[in-house]
Every structure is written in structure tokens, then in C-alpha cells.
């Protein structure tokens, strides 16, 4: 058990590519932090820097009380779960789990006890004598988890561990990993590009873009108050609609917009914050033409074209309305559901 402190971490590759720039992050003992961002945002690089698989170009990294910048991966007291599981194909499941313990000189009895405990916890006890290729994707995932567990490390590092699983299994493993992590209360750093995984699993969420932190916060914080237009567009599906403030000012009653800061020239509206108009509901009213109705079972996504707006807007309704494409529809939105941004800097203004 340990906290992890990143102090101004930089990663510059030979050739000058800057993968990670100036990361400051304090991870409390037992906390589950999810690093999320698009491909190439530096999230995996950052994780690998913590693991010791990439060198740290600048800054200091603490795990617990120790500065670990120059320690080998084996000496950092961490365990990692890889995207492709990285199970040793020529060893049985038992030996896969035992390998790290053997290397550290644990006694045979202790190895046996720990492996069996982990196997029981992950329900892979029946497969201990099998080779990895004889296991299904979900079982391999469990073995990879088991290999991390048996070591009882100070921190778990997860590098997109669920992205090779099918959708159903992914949801199931997501729940299991989170439950396990809560039960063991082991500090965890989890990398994913899947925003749903990020929102559901994190104690705190770190949104990365271009090697920098865009926002850190609890999932609901990040969702309800995105700090930048990037976060607003990345977290939430469908993505947040962005309208020029001028468009709203020209079409809406001015007192509805009075609370918005002058600097805000871009207004974000979540698709689910727009409601089909019923009188007396909401503050602002928008009318557009329905381009496409996408029914998605319990909900539906409406793509609308608004006069004078270049981009289409997406609206999410908790039901499938009986409307036809081409029809003009009016929507309302409450004024505290408007997210004001400065279009030039991309930052939220308050």
C-alpha cells in the first residue's frame, strides 16, 4: 500500500518527441485513478514511466516514501496488467502466477499458498495446470490479474486490460476489477481510452490530451463541470454540443443569458439536457429540423440542423418520440445547463 506522487514529470524521446509534459498528480493510498484520453495522448507512456518501463526525462516520481526514478521495474513494488495479458505461453497458469514469487525467493509453501489464494479469489483454481492457450480471453484476463495479485504490491498498474475482450465480458470484468480493487484497497493506476470504463471505475479521473492533464476530478465532477472544451467533447456520449454564444444571444431572450460571463463565446449543451418542448419547461428554446432519428432501445438520438448553425446538434431523449425526419422540432434547455467556454483558449469560464 502506498501513495504515488508525480512531480512535474516529462518524457522526451530521442529525436525530440514530447510524449508527456509537466504532469503533477498526487494519488492517495488505496485510490483508483483512471487515466483517460485519445490515442497518442501519453497515457500509456505515463503509466509505463510509473512502471519503470520508460525512463523519466525530467521530474520526480515517488511511490510511497521512495523516489523511484532510477529504480528497476522489479524494485518499484508495483504489478502491471498488460493489454495483451503478456502471459508466459510456455508455462502453466500456476507457474505464470508463481514466476514473480520464485524470482523473489519466496519459499515453496508461501508460493503455493499465495497462488492458491489468488486463484480462488479469481475463480481460476480449476485451470492451474493449463497453459494460457487453453484458456478463453476472460480466463486469461483473470490469470493476468492473478499474477498482479499474488505479489501483493504497493500499486497495480493497468494498461487497457479490457480492450481485448468482447463487450459483454468487458462489462463483467470491469465490475470485478473494481470490486477487487475496493476490497484490497490497493492504489491503482488504470489506463483506458474508453470513457465509460473511466467514468464507472475511477475514484478520480485524469483526462489527458497531448501529453498534458486537461482535468482531474471525480467522474461526476468531470462530467458535470468539464474544465475545457476537449474534456467536454471527450467525456460523454454522444459528445457535448458546442454552439457559438453569438447564436444564442441572437435567438434567445437576453435575461436567460445574463448569467453567462462576457468572455464565454462558446456554449456547451449536453445532449440529454435538451428536452422536447412542453410549455413552462426550461428557459431557452431552440427550434431545428430533424435530420435523423436513431432509436437505441431505451433512448434515442436526434440529429438536428438549426438555422444559422454550421454544425448539427445531437439530442438524447430517454424515449423514442414519434416524430418524422424533416419535421421542425422545438427544444428547451435550462439555463444552468449551459457550459460556458472561451473558444480561443478552450477553457471553461465562470
Amino acid at each position: 500500500m502506498a501513495s504515488i506522487t508525480m512531480d512535474n514529470l516529462h518524457k522526451v524521446y530521442t529525436g525530440g518527441v514530447r510524449a508527456v509534459t509537466g504532469i503533477n498528480l498526487d494519488i492517495a493510498d488505496g485510490e483508483m485513478i483512471v487515466l483517460v484520453g485519445p490515442s497518442g495522448c501519453g497515457k500509456s507512456t505515463l503509466l509505463r514511466m510509473v512502471a519503470g518501463l520508460e525512463t523519466i526525462s525530467e521530474g520526480t516520481l515517488h511511490i510511497g516514501e521512495r523516489v523511484v526514478n532510477n529504480l528497476e521495474p522489479a524494485d518499484r513494488d508495483i504489478a502491471m496488467v498488460f493489454q495483451n495479458y503478456a502471459l508466459y505461453p510456455h508455462m502453466t497458469v500456476f507457474n505464470n502466477l508463481a514466476y514473480g514469487l520464485k524470482n523473489r525467493g519466496f519459499s515453496k509453501a508461501e508460493i503455493d499458498r499465495r497462488v492458491r489464494d489468488a486463484a480462488e479469489m479469481l475463480e481460476i483454481g480449476a485451470f492451474l495446470d493449463r497453459k494460457p492457450r487453453q484458456l478463453s480471453g476472460g480466463q486469461r484476463q483473470r490469470v493476468a490479474m492473478g499474477r498482479a495479485l499474488v505479489r501483493e504490491p504497493a500499486a497495480f498498474l493497468f494498461d487497457e486490460p479490457l480492450s481485448n475482450l468482447d463487450a459483454k465480458l468487458r462489462v463483467q470484468m470491469r465490475v470485478e476489477i473494481r470490486q477487487l480493487q475496493k476490497r484490497l484497497a490497493t492504489t491503482s493506476l488504470y489506463v483506458t481510452h474508453d470513457q465509460l470504463e473511466a467514468l464507472t471505475m475511477a475514484d478520480r479521473l485524469v483526462v489527458l490530451n497531448g501529453g498534458q492533464i486537461e482535468q482531474v476530478g471525480t467522474p461526476m465532477d468531470v462530467y458535470s463541470r468539464p474544465a475545457t472544451t476537449f474534456v467536454a467533447g471527450f467525456i460523454g456520449s454522444p459528445a457535448m454540443n458546442m454552439l457559438p454564444a453569438d447564436y444564442l444571444r441572437s435567438t434567445q431572450a437576453s435575461d436567460n443569458l445574463a448569467h453567462l460571463p462576457q468572455a464565454a463565446d462558446l456554449i456547451g449543451i449536453r445532449p440529454e439536457d435538451l428536452a422536447l418542448e412542453t410549455p413552462g419547461d426550461g428557459d431557452l428554446s431552440l427550434t431545428g429540423k430533424l435530420l435523423l432519428l436513431e432509436p437505441a432501445g431505451a433512448e434515442s438520438h436526434l440529429h438536428l440542423k438549426f438555422d444559422g448553425l454550421h454544425e448539427n446538434m445531437i439530442i438524447r431523449l430517454p424515449h423514442v418520440p414519434s416524430v418524422i425526419e424533416g419535421q421542425a422540432l422545438s427544444f428547451t434547455v435550462r439555463r444552468d445547463n449551459l457550459h460556458p467556454f472561451d473558444g480561443a483558449t478552450g477553457k471553461r469560464v465562470s
Binding site: 522489479a74 502491471m80 495483451n84
Partner: protein, 294 residues
């Protein structure tokens, strides 16, 4: 189930298409092989005037001939030495080259070149390097107090032919080992590093076992090479000497048949060699298909 069946417009076309391969096989394998089988049960008198049928007597004589048994022994050590030397050096090179990033292709190209050198040329090359009177190696070894002479010392001769034969094969082995190393996912090595395995331990417990299918394949290929493709090397360096010390089976077939003109014995020896090739081929197909390790 639908069977894929080609239909030809002419009845003769399929035969014509197969003909080149069949003709080559008949002329260069079936014919000489049956000649060898036939010859191996015959014996000529010294002047080549009479030929008589002797059954398996040629084989019986061979297996009781101390020179032939010596040749078997020499071939065994020569194959083992060549295979081990060429494979271990190749593996070492492959591991080193695999660690490079930008210069990898350049090194690979240079390391593959020796493979293009003909066996006889390789033999001459090493003959010069190790020549007791003008060679650079004996000169250097003298500095260490070792008097190299592969013309009189059978150990020196054996070392020379092993080096000359292995040198050429290193390139081939290197390519396979490098490809094998590159197909091992980096994350396995990283996982092992996190699991606390030292560099050496990672190599012997993760990398080497994962290379085992390639190692096994190369072992068979190298043994076959050492036994059958090294005629040129031997011929250009030691010619089987001194005192039969490097007279491997293939070379002995040639010496007995074409120099000493004992056709019956020579044919019997090639039949035995054919048997060995068949066994090695069976081993290769049997086990390679089955992926040795995992």
C-alpha cells in the same frame, strides 16, 4: 462438400504441366538413387573387367571396417561441433542485433553476406587464415604459445573444418533467430522484468524457451547441412586428413568411389547416407509440425 476439381481442355495438359518436375526428379534423384542401390550389391575386380553380385556383403564389410566406423565417429563430432558452434554464435549475434534500433538492418545485411559464399570458397578462405606457414591465426596462436598445425594434428584439423563449416551457416541461423526474437512480444519481457527476473534469467526462462521451435528446426537443418553440404569445405581445407581425422561420410563416399574407384563400397555408403537423410526428414516433419514447446 464441394471438391475443387480442375478440368483441362486437353487430356495431355495436366501431364505436360507436371512433366518438368517429374523429369527433374527422375533424372537427378530416382535414376542415381536406383543406380546406387543397384551398385551397392555389386562388386568389381581391380581392373573393372568383371562385376559380380554379392548381396549385402558390401554393407557387412563396411560395418566391420574400422575406417568406416572412424568416419561415422568423425561425422558425428563434426556435425555436433558445427551445429553447436554455428547456432550459439548465431543466437548471440541475433540477441545483440535485436537490441539495436536504427542500425539493426545494416548489421543484419552484413551478417547475412557469408551465406552467399560458396562452401569451397569458404574453405579456401579459412585454409588461408589457418595456413600453418602463411596464415594469420597460427601466427597469432604462436604468440600464445600454441603451435597450430592442422596438417599434423587431427584436433587442429577438426577445429578448422568445424569453424569453416559453421561460419557459413551462422548467417542462416542468425536470420531465423532474429525473426524468432522479433516475434516474441515485448510485453512478455517487460512482464518478466516487473516480475523481478534479471536480464540473464529473462533470457533463459522466457526468451530461450519461446525460441525452442526455431532452435529445434535449426538443429535438424544444421545437422543435415553438416552431414551433406560440407563436401566443399572439407575438400578445400583438409581433404579428409590428417590420417582420416576429418574424413566425414560424404567425403568418404567421394574418395572411395571416384579416387579409389571402389564403386560397390561407395554405393553402399551412399545408400546408408540416404537412409540417414530419410530419418532426419521424418524427424523434422514429425516434430516441427507439432511445435515443440507450447
Amino acid at each position: 462438400m464441394q471438391t475443387k476439381r480442375m478440368t483441362f481442355s486437353s487430356k495431355w495438359l495436366p501431364y505436360a504441366l507436371l512433366a518438368p518436375q517429374v523429369i527433374i526428379t527422375v533424372i537427378f534423384f530416382i535414376w542415381p538413387a536406383s543406380q546406387a542401390l543397384y551398385q551397392s550389391v555389386l562388386r568389381q575386380d581391380i581392373f573393372g573387367l568383371r562385376t559380380e553380385f554379392v548381396g549385402l556383403d558390401n554393407f557387412v564389410r563396411l560395418l566391420n571396417d574400422p575406417l568406416y566406423l572412424n568416419s561415422l565417429n568423425v561425422t558425428f563430432w563434426f556435425s555436433v561441433g558445427t551445429t553447436f558452434l554455428s547456432m550459439s554464435v548465431a543466437l548471440l549475434f541475433a540477441v545483440m542485433v535485436n537490441r539495436m534500433i536504427r542500425s539493426r538492418d545494416t548489421y543484419t545485411t552484413f551478417l547475412v553476406w557469408p551465406y552467399a559464399v560458396a562452401p569451397a570458397i569458404a574453405g579456401v578462405l579459412w585454409w588461408f587464415i589457418f595456413n600453418p606457414s602463411i596464415g594469420i591465426m597460427p601466427y597469432m596462436l604462436k604468440g600464445f604459445g600454441y603451435d597450430w598445425n592442422h596438417r599434423s594434428s587431427s584436433t587442429d584439423a577438426m577445429i578448422l573444418v568445424i569453424i569453416a563449416a559453421a561460419w557459413k551457416q551462422i548467417s542462416y541461423n542468425f536470420l531465423f533467430f532474429l525473426a524468432g526474437l522479433q516475434s516474441i512480444p515485448q510485453s512478455l519481457i517487460e512482464a518478466a522484468a516487473i516480475d523481478g527476473a534479471s536480464r540473464m534469467k529473462r533470457f533463459w526462462t522466457i526468451v530461450f524457451p519461446l525460441l525452442s521451435p526455431i532452435t529445434f528446426f535449426l538443429m535438424v537443418v544444421n545437422v543435415v547441412y553438416a552431414m551433406f553440404d560440407t563436401f566443399g569445405v572439407i575438400h578445400a581445407t583438409t581433404e579428409g586428413g590428417p590420417a582420416q581425422a576429418t574424413n566425414i561420410l560424404v567425403y568418404k563416399v567421394y574418395r572411395d568411389g571416384f579416387v579409389n574407384l571402389n564403386l560397390g563400397s561407395s554405393a553402399a555408403q551412399s545408400v546408408i547416407l540416404m537412409g540417414i537423410v530419410i530419418i532426419l526428414t521424418v524427424i523434422q516433419f514429425r516434430y516441427i509440425e507439432r511445435r515443440v514447446n507450447y
